[in-house]
């Protein structure tokens, strides 16, 4: 089964402002496990790309917060996840775009392998 | 959000983003009239649009205030009934709304209406029945009255038929 995981940054990842509970290594492992991986954040896209480059993670996408529907149209997957920390800016638009939404603690607890 | 009877098929044809309220979701917040604005809201409940007017200056002002912005009088302010006609002066499309009750309906139109009785007087409108981000600027509109979450009616505006 092919799955795509979209990560919010601020409040979700350890590099966020504020820091979230998901580590960069967590993202790296999902990528290594064969998931389609990227970020969907209010940070400038160039800043998202620079962050991933700094960590040596070759993400599949880096988009603005409202672009999950575009991501879904660009990538074929059996299931699409968005992990974020906001009801209004993550959960609602993710579900509207046809993504399954996970809070960071749910993402940590989920058996991804 | 918009409390109007519109053919659902027509709505779908307009724009997928526009949807009728269902089960009260997306309804405007209720209004608790206060001393300053009570006549405005009471008139709305009777499907009448009234605007504060300084009888000394013969000048309308909105939002209501304790004194006339022109002459400073606090004793010459009265409420004057409007024709309920206006035109669309300007608009924006709200994608990130601070009001929780309206967030389910984002994005939505907010138009600035200028009254025919005095184009200097503006009112906001969601323009029920008008597709999102497809606003006929300059079009004639007429007032309708819409119930909010606590039953208080508020003035809304609809494009007059034939204006699109």
């Amino acid at each position: 089964m092919r799955a795509l995981i979209s990560f919010d940054i601020d409040g979700t990842l350890e590099e966020g402002d504020p820091p979230g509970i998901l580590t960069i290594d967590f993202v790296r492992e999902t990528k290594q496990d064969g998931f389609l991986v990227g970020s969907c954040s209010d940070r400038p896209i160039s800043a998202q790309r620079a962050m991933w480059e700094r960590h040596g993670i070759d993400v599949d996408f880096a988009v603005s917060k409202h672009m999950l529907a575009d991501v879904k149209s660009r990538f074929t997957a059996d299931v699409y996840y968005h992990i974020g920390d906001r009801e209004d800016l993550d959960k609602r638009p993710a579900e509207q775009a046809g993504f399954e939404f996970l809070w960071p603690h749910e993402a940590l607890a989920k058996p991804w392998g | 959000m918009q409390c109007v009877a519109v053919d659902p098929i027509t709505v779908v044809a307009f724009n997928a983003s526009f949807r009728l309220e269902d089960n009260g979701e997306g309804m405007k917040q209720g209004v608790d009239p206060d001393d300053l604005t009570r006549p405005f809201w009471e008139a709305a409940n009777l499907d009448r649009l009234v605007i504060q007017n300084c009888t000394r200056c013969d000048r309308l002002q909105h939002p209501p205030a304790r004194t006339c912005h022109q002459c400073g009088s606090d004793g010459a302010l009265a409420w004057k009934e409007m024709s309920g006609r206006g035109r669309i002066y300007n608009y924006g499309v709200v994608h990130d709304c601070p009001i929780r009750l309206l967030q389910e309906d984002q994005p939505f139109n907010v138009a600035v209406i200028m009254l025919n009785d005095d184009p200097g007087i503006q009112m906001y409108s969601h323009l029920p029945g008008t597709p999102v981000d497809d606003i006929p600027i300059g079009a004639d509109v007429e007032v309708v009255f819409e119930a909010t979450a606590n039953g208080q009616k508020v003035p809304e505006w609809r494009v007059v038929a034939g204006e699109r």
Binding site: H66 | G30, L36, G92, H95, Q122
Partner: protein, 449 residues
């Protein structure tokens, strides 16, 4: 009650007569007789971390002490304090949430336990500034640093203070901007409902003015991209700013055009970021300034717009009429023309109204409708036409004072990597916030002739 010269007086908002609102007042009577001689900034934070030292009171004390140190004056010689008691970015202490007693009790408190946490009185500052033993004059310039500057400049000119601190601070708490309180409820008071029932975010009025501007002059939103890019680049050269300190991210034109809408045509990057920060300036008389550590930066004028829009939101016609009126007041009181401006630092805390400010000023000969084309030319700090060299709120986070700090630092030639190089920094204008309703000042390397 504030401690003033050993006694106690209450601090009040400055009377309306302090502000130079009308046209035709002629040269400011204190033109060139008041000078800025010290700057102090606190660190920036996105939100309060709950520690006493980073509370709005704590960072304010830090800014004040840095300004005094920067000027090289004895704290006991400071006899005036002008500040804004309001510090909210839109965040208020949640009803029912336990008060932060550890932080409250870390300082000498006033009758209001949240003084120093979600507001700031002169009483609180003086109760926690043992070194300020000579304060004889206190006043509130309510609104912004721009208000406080007008009040302080006038007070020194009028002889009510000799060496005066000017302070503005901001607090920010958890939660999204303006999403709590009444906005989360099911009903609101009738007076608020007239405006807010339709769910317009703070930038809505500016967004629709910009929409009208684009229709009238045939411009498009993407033409703002060079302004945004330039502002952030300048802001990243402002070491006191939020983005430089915490997230050194540029905004490219591609980033700007990909940003989500808040109220179309205003997008995310047209809005500034609420932060915690404090800044203080030290003003004194021109005579005294000449003997202090820093190069004096003279105030040639302060001017104010108190124009009330006719209805819910100013029309483009109202905006243009008022920015032109404001410019006439600025130039008249300072005894200068647009041609004398080395650069401009007008407010940008919605980016989409900066062009209204500079078109009203006639900066570099701009007429209404021309600024977005101007943005496509060289507006950098190294060119002949610097626009917002401070980076403003877009480049540094919301404070509404970067523009003033930058004017002072540029003229003193200590703006560092941000120093303008394409022009000689001699006379500059700053101020805001709104194009209709704001306070403005003219800064100069010389007291004028």
């Amino acid at each position: 009650m504030a401690r003033c010269g050993g006694g106690a007086v209450s601090t009040s908002p400055a009377p309306a007569s302090v502000y130079r609102v009308k046209e035709g007042l002629g040269l400011w009577e204190h033109r060139g007789k008041v000078a800025a001689v010290g700057i102090g900034h606190s660190p920036t934070f996105r939100r309060w971390d709950g520690t006493p030292e980073n509370s709005v009171g704590g960072i304010s004390l830090e800014a004040l002490r840095r300004a005094i140190d920067d000027a090289g004056v004895n704290p006991a010689d400071v006899d005036g304090l002008v500040m804004d008691p309001s510090t909210t970015t839109g965040a208020f202490w949640p009803r029912g949430k336990p008060l932060p007693w550890d932080s409250i009790n870390a300082y000498n408190r006033t009758d209001d336990p949240l003084d120093g946490i979600t507001g700031l009185s002169a009483d609180w500052i003086l109760a926690n500034s043992a070194e300020l033993t000579g304060i004889e004059f206190t006043s509130y310039g309510v609104g912004c640093m721009s208000n406080a500057i007008c009040v302080a400049a006038q007070a020194i000119g009028d002889g009510r203070a000799h060496t005066c601190l000017v302070l503005k601070s901001w607090h920010n708490l958890e939660g999204r901007y303006y999403q709590g309180g009444a906005n989360a409820g099911n009903a609101i008071p009738g007076s608020s409902a007239i405006r807010s029932l339709w769910g317009t975010p703070a930038c809505f009025g500016t967004a629709v003015q910009f929409a009208e501007y684009c229709r009238k002059y045939g411009k498009t939103h993407d033409m703002m991209a060079p302004f945004i890019e330039n502002s952030r680049q300048n802001g990243l050269k402002f070491p006191e700013g939020y983005w430089a300190q915490h997230r050194p991210e540029e905004i490219t034109p591609e980033d700007y055009e990909a940003a989500r809408w808040i109220a179309k045509p205003a997008n995310l990057f047209d809005n500034d970021l609420p932060i915690m920060v404090s800044a203080a300036y030290l003003f004194t008389t021109a005579d005294r300034a000449r003997h202090l550590k820093q190069q004096p930066v003279y105030i040639l004028n302060h001017a104010t717009s108190r124009t009330r829009p006719r209805s819910l939101t100013p029309t483009l016609d109202e905006v243009e009429a008022d920015t032109a009126r404001t410019a006439r007041k600025i130039y008249e009181g300072a005894g200068i023309t647009a041609n004398d401006l080395s650069f401009e630092n007008m407010y940008d805390g919605f980016a989409l109204f900066h062009q209204f400010h500079i078109e009203g000023l006639g900066y570099r000969g701009l007429k209404f409708g021309e600024a977005l084309d101007f943005y496509q030319t060289d507006i950098s700090i190294s060119g002949p036409n610097p626009v917002s060299p401070s980076g403003g709120n877009i480049g540094c986070g919301r404070s509404r004072f970067w523009m003033h700090t930058d004017c002072i630092q540029q003229i003193q030639q200590r703006a560092g990597a941000r120093q303008v190089t394409g022009v000689k920094p001699e006379i500059a204008v700053s101020g805001g916030p709104m194009p209709v309703g704001g306070n403005y000042m003219v800064w100069s390397a010389t007291p004028g002739s």
